[in-house]
């Protein structure tokens, strides 16, 4: 019964050339934004792969030197470009993309793309998913307005409802027609970019699953908006009220809801001061220790090796190396406690944000989109942790080489490519799609509830429509 009605509504929509032009503009903007994002990503991925290979070659070819100097030389690790970053860059413009994995320090990721930008660059961020989430509702509401307001404006709504088999079926067909047009117009360009990115930037089955999940989420988002738009149009007594209602809903549900939910999340789950955390690190795990700390280190080393004097040990082990090892492991424990706790709080705030999906479908989908694209903090932290584990492995390996080799006649132990090649290349394996879904479960539930609620509202409102 629904199919002819849906077909009729779609035909009415595509025959309205002004509406087609507006939808083409929305589609075009998304496609353009996606294309620019994809081109940037492709170039970025190629540069990172090339420089990472050069870093590895530099590490292997650094020649003969003190292993601790090698640990300081170390490598830069680059966060690999994810294929779906072209669809949703998420937090990527606001976090660093390279980290120097040197001894003593868990460095921050540097080179945030937006850090030195002008304000207009932030306002005009080329963010396809951001545009989709913020402006998509406007396009869907325009479609809903076009299919729902026409009969009311012409005064034939009563006649149309009189001839329809059921009211719910009649309005349901309208909702379906909006969804049927909205998905290819708004989701289509981004899926196309996603596929293109998967093919060129690289991605396996996991990325394909991520793209499929993202597409389903985006389709659900469009369906929810179509239901909301239709419900507003049906509940409004006049075309003017309907339009004002749609506009207000757009401002509240997408434009204001995202920063508002973010503000609520930071209020409910505040993140401690980063500077304060840095001061604690400088205090408790300084890169260069004082004579007093040095004496404590020596005492613990003497105890470990069962010696009573440093001079006795100097014949058998490299005391400097042992000191470096003690300092490094102490610093690692401090980093785990302080930096780990700080990032836990950032992640907790993101979880609160995801749980605020009930405020607006835009909030729910914003969390889901970045999670499936692999561009949220949950994924970013995984990279940070992986890079830090690699750093620790590298530095500990260098110290382990130094400890059993005491300086001979004042000449410190050195090593060469044999040791450097003992450290494997940094290879990062991102989290699987399933863990991403698990991290945003509250947002997924909220989106499902919005979908269900949208269907219920359309049904209820359809029964109460007054022509």
């Amino acid at each position: 019964v629904l199919r002819p009605l849906v077909r009729l509504e779609i035909l009415k929509l595509v025959r309205d050339f002004r509406l087609v032009a507006v939808m083409a503009a929305f589609s075009g903007v998304l496609l353009l934004s996606g294309t620019v994002s994809w081109l940037n990503l492709r170039e970025d991925a190629a540069t990172k792969a090339q420089v990472a290979a050069e870093e590895r070659a530099r590490w292997l070819g650094q020649g003969e030197k003190d292993p601790h100097s090698a640990a300081h030389y170390s490598i830069y690790a680059f966060r690999p470009a994810k294929a779906l970053q072209a669809v949703d860059p998420g937090i990527v413009p606001f976090v660093g993309e390279a980290v120097w994995l040197e001894a003593h320090l868990q460095n921050d990721l540097l080179f945030r793309p937006q850090q030195d930008s002008n304000a207009f660059e932030r306002l005009g961020l080329v963010d396809p998913a951001g545009l989709f989430i913020r402006l998509g509702p406007l396009a869907v509401f325009l479609l809903a307005f076009a299919v729902a307001a026409g009969e009311r404006e012409l005064g034939v709504l009563g006649l149309a409802l009189g001839t329809a088999p059921t009211r719910a079926g009649y309005f349901g067909a309208k909702v379906l027609s909006v969804i049927a047009v909205g998905i290819p117009v708004l989701v289509g360009p981004l899926v196309l970019i996603g596929v293109l990115s998967l093919m060129t930037v690289g991605g396996g089955a996991d990325d394909a699953v991520r793209l499929l999940s993202w597409t389903l989420g985006a389709a659900a988002y469009i369906a929810i908006l179509a239901a909301i738009g239709m419900a507003i149009c049906m509940a409004s007594r006049s075309v003017q009220t309907a339009f004002a209602g749609l506009l207000l809903s757009w401002v509240i549900l997408s434009l204001a809801a995202l920063p508002a939910a973010s503000a609520v999340a930071s209020w409910r789950s505040p993140v401690p001061s980063f500077q304060q955390m840095k001061l604690v690190l400088a205090d408790e795990a300084p890169a260069y220790w004082t004579p007093e700390t040095g004496a404590e280190q020596i005492a613990s080393i003497l105890q470990r090796y069962g010696a009573s004097r440093e001079e006795d040990l100097q014949q058998t082990i490299n005391v400097r190396g042992a000191q470096l090892d003690v300092a490094e492991r102490h610093a690692q424990a401090v980093f785990d406690r302080e930096i780990g706790r700080f990032y836990d709080r950032v992640q907790a705030q993101d979880a609160v944000y995801a749980s605020l999906g009930w405020l607006s479908p835009a909030v729910a989908f914003d969390a889901i989109s970045a999670a499936f694209a692999g561009t949220d903090f949950f994924h970013h932290r995984h990279f940070i942790d992986a890079a830090e584990q690699y750093r620790r492995g590298l530095v500990n390996r260098m110290n382990a080489d130094l400890i059993p080799n005491p300086a001979i006649n004042g000449r410190e132990h050195t090593n060469d490519g044999t040791l450097w090649s003992d450290v494997p290349a940094f290879a990062y394996r991102p989290r699987p799609a399933l863990s991403a879904a698990r991290a945003v479960t509250p947002a997924l539930i909220a989106l499902a509830c919005w979908l269900l609620g949208g269907a219920v509202i359309v049904r209820r409102t359809a029964d109460r429509v007054q022509p």
């Binding site: 903007v29 353009l32 934004s33 620019v36 170039e43 970025d44 540069t47 990172k48 420089v51 050069e54 870093e55 530099r58 830069y76 998420g90 937090i91 413009p93 606001f94 976090v95 390279a98 921050d108 540097l110 080179f111 945030r112 850090q115 002008n118 304000a119 207009f120 660059e121 932030r122 306002l123 005009g124 961020l125 080329v126 963010d127 402006l135 406007l138 003017q240 339009f243 004002a244 506009l247 401002v251 204001a256 920063p259 939910a261 973010s262 503000a263 999340a265 993140v271 001061s273 980063f274 500077q275 304060q276 001061l279 260069y288 220790w289 040095g294 950032v346 970045a370 949220d376 903090f377």
Partner: protein, 496 residues
């Protein structure tokens, strides 16, 4: 009835109508509530940052207190030995392992007006002598998801919500007669459409502009901003908001005067808003990317590592060259390998900066290109101009940050010119004074003489002057649009 009295009557009639309209009060209430919340959010962020600055200052003071205690201890004869990197009385050791200074960018009195880039760009930069081209590359870690959604602040309300509220209210009021089908009755009265529109626009402006200005001042006061003490900035902010409101009233008036219904007028206002707020900045970003691609930081890292390798390979020669250049040929006999790492670093840092000068120039050129495009975007989009002016007034914009970064670099050079001669002095003048049997080298103890960073801001009147210029530009555009709409309404735009 004379025409003068008619105009006055018309104006008062319109004023009463505007005052009685629930749409206006709803719009103002939305702006007041959301603006107060927004200002509170920014105030909280900036208060946390001020607390961080205080902590940094305290930590620096504690550090130097400890340095003085150590210096006193190492200045007395003792059997202990201290390596140079643990000796704060050694100029070279101090320069790398003990020197602590940070550059602070304090918030301005009206900072709660706009969060600008203050959630993204660092407000405290630690200084080290060997960092290339300025302070350490650091940032204050705000949750990145919050950065990507943007902070819900007062400028967000003014930029995103206020135009739509004003457009909505002005369209709803302006097109009421047309939509209710009573415009022919109005047209039948002895009033010209121009006078009617003029009275309507003036009434809307006369009530909306002061109200929205008040809606800005109240959140500022509620957030603790010293609006009276910072009166030049307050006047600048009020002027900006007034001109911005006038602009959107003019846009909505123009739509309504052309005979559009509320729906059509709102559609056009929203489209213009989208164009000015989203499309033009995106076009600016794309134009910038197209004409001046951002230098790849990854490629820069590659170059940095390559140059580091080169300089390290030639380190001895680099050090000798530097010493000869500084002290003359007599320094050529110095054995560079015998110098400590911190002393060698003086020459190596200078050489690294020389070889990476092109890279830094590329970064500066990109920043200049970005500023040029920002200027163009501000001319093309009153929304971008308004946003930039608010951030400028609040001291949270890019302009002030660039000034800050320049000051940080100048300060680093000042620190270097203070420390480097002291670090290099013992190289050529052996037998520097040291107490007999003291662990300390005593080549540097002038801790109080170390320069301190001071950031000189523009005068408040200068900042206010810039915002007044932007306000004048917005008002001019608004007046032109308003005059066009009035000039275009020679006849009544009656619905067919």
């Amino acid at each position: 009835v004379t025409s003068t009295i008619s105009a006055r009557l018309l104006f008062w009639y319109e004023c009463r109508r505007v005052c009685r309209s629930p749409v206006i009060w709803i719009a103002l209430a939305v702006l007041l509530v959301s603006g107060t919340w927004g200002a509170h959010n920014t105030a909280r962020l900036h208060s946390d940052q001020n607390a961080d600055l205080a902590r940094l200052a305290q930590q620096e003071a504690d550090w130097y207190a400890d340095v003085r205690i150590r210096a006193a201890r190492y200045s007395k004869p003792s059997a202990d030995t201290v390596p140079y990197w643990q000796d704060p009385t050694s100029a070279s050791g101090f320069s790398r392992y003990f020197l602590r200074r940070f550059a602070a960018k304090p918030h301005l009195p009206l900072s709660v007006l706009s969060v600008g880039q203050s959630d993204l760009q660092p407000f405290a930069v630690p200084l080290r002598l060997e960092t290339l081209f300025g302070g350490d590359r650091v940032y204050d870690y705000e949750p990145p998801r919050a950065l990507s959604t943007g902070l819900f602040d007062l400028s967000f309300v003014l930029l995103f919500v206020a135009p739509l509220c004003v457009g909505w209210a002005a369209s709803a009021l302006g097109a009421l007669e047309r939509d209710q089908g009573i415009l022919p009755s109005v047209a039948a009265q002895p009033i010209s459409p121009r006078r009617w529109w003029l009275a309507r626009l003036i009434a809307l402006s006369a009530l909306l502009i002061p109200s929205i200005a008040l809606v800005v001042v109240v959140p500022l006061v509620a957030a603790g901003a010293p609006v009276v003490r910072a009166w030049p900035e307050t006047i600048g902010a009020i002027s900006l908001v007034a001109a911005h409101t006038l602009f959107w009233i003019a846009i909505a008036g123009w739509c309504v005067a052309r005979g559009h219904s509320v729906v059509a007028a709102l559609s056009i206002v929203t489209t213009i808003w989208l164009l000015l707020t989203v499309a033009i900045p995106i076009a600016g970003t794309l134009a910038l990317q197209w004409n001046h691609p951002r230098p790849s930081p990854i490629a820069d890292v590659n170059e940095l590592r390559h140059v580091t390798d080169q300089v390290q390979r030639e380190a001895d020669a680099v050090v000798v060259r530097h010493l000869v250049k500084r002290f003359g040929l007599s320094a050529a006999s110095v054995n560079p390998s015998a110098l400590d790492y911190s002393t060698r670093l003086v020459a190596i840092t200078v050489e690294m900066e020389r070889r990476l000068e092109q890279q830094e120039r590329r970064r500066q050129e990109y920043a200049r290109a970005s500023d040029r495009v920002a200027g163009l975007v501000a001319w093309l989009s009153p929304q971008a101009a308004f946003q930039t002016a608010l951030a400028d007034l609040a001291g949270t914009g890019t302009r002030r940050h660039r000034d800050f970064l320049r000051a940080v670099r100048d300060f680093q050079l000042e620190l270097r010119s203070f420390m480097y001669p002291r670090v290099l002095h013992p190289v050529t003048f052996q037998g520097v004074p040291s107490c007999g049997g003291c662990p300390g080298r005593l080549t540097f103890t002038e801790y109080d003489a170390i320069p301190r960073f001071a950031f000189t801001d523009d005068a408040p009147s200068e900042r206010s002057g810039r915002s007044l210029r932007t306000a004048a530009w917005l008002a001019l555009v608004a007046i032109v649009v308003g005059l066009l709409s009035i000039a275009g309404s020679r006849t009544w735009a009656l619905a067919p």
